[in-house]
């Protein structure tokens, strides 16, 4: 498994690299990778001639919308559909 990862897009950074930050920084399956998925994605995109820009933005969850979505998710799919059809009639 390790060899397969090392040969992949994230291979160069992954070889012999073990983070000290605990298991949360280690890749799936405890493979010992410390290349983040984002970094791997960037390498793949760059190999295709693209790049990925990332920007930090303030995160402000909309609690009212989240509460509404939570309520919707508690309904069965057919109930969600019926609710939409009722809303169309209003």
């Amino acid at each position: 498994m390790e060899g397969r990862w090392s040969g992949g897009a994230g291979g160069t950074a992954a070889a012999g690299c073990r983070p000290e930050g605990g298991s949360a920084a280690v890749g799936p399956g405890g493979s010992g990778r410390c290349t983040s998925l984002l970094e791997t994605l960037r390498e793949i995109l760059r190999a295709c001639g693209y790049d990925l820009e990332t920007n930090l933005e303030p995160y402000e969850p909309d609690k009212r919308q989240d509460a509404q979505l939570d309520k919707t998710l508690q309904r069965a799919p057919q109930e969600r559909l019926q609710a939409m059809l009722r809303a169309r009639q209003r």
Partner: protein, 134 residues
């Protein structure tokens, strides 16, 4: 302005009655997943296998489907010639999307099988299916 008549349940029932294999996508797909939005039509991705096309044709006859642009509907010719075939039926707007952007038909076949697996699992574990009841 009054919204046009739309009965997605009738469309789904007509498709299911003929055994059509399809996936619901677009706004209605999002509504079923929990998105709080309104829609006036149903978009489906049908399996493009010959037998399924035949079944789809039968379901569309049942729904008295006609092309939104007024041209005569010839399913064998029209389906797959354009990215989306927009139809009007007795139950409202129906769009056929043979191959949504970013997908391949073989992926869709897998998804359709997966959908059926989820339905069966749902029936088994909760004693009721995903079928929509009036």
């Amino acid at each position: 302005m009054a919204r046009p008549p739309f009965d997605p349940i009738a469309v789904l029932q007509a498709l299911d009655a003929e055994g059509v294999r399809y996936i619901v996508v677009g706004a209605l797909g999002r509504v079923i997943q929990g998105s709080p939005e309104l829609t006036d039509g149903i978009d489906i991705v049908p399996s493009m296998k010959d037998e399924n096309r035949r079944r789809l044709g039968a379901a569309l006859e049942e729904l008295k489907a006609r092309r939104a642009d007024g041209k005569p509907l010839k399913l064998e010719r029209d389906l797959g010639r354009q990215p989306m075939l927009e139809l009007r039926t007795t139950a409202g707007e129906l769009k056929l999307v043979p191959e949504p952007v970013g997908t391949r038909q073989q992926d869709l076949e897998i998804l359709q099988t997966t959908r059926r697996l989820i339905e069966l699992d749902h029936q088994r574990t909760r004693g009721r299916g995903l079928s929509i009841e009036r």
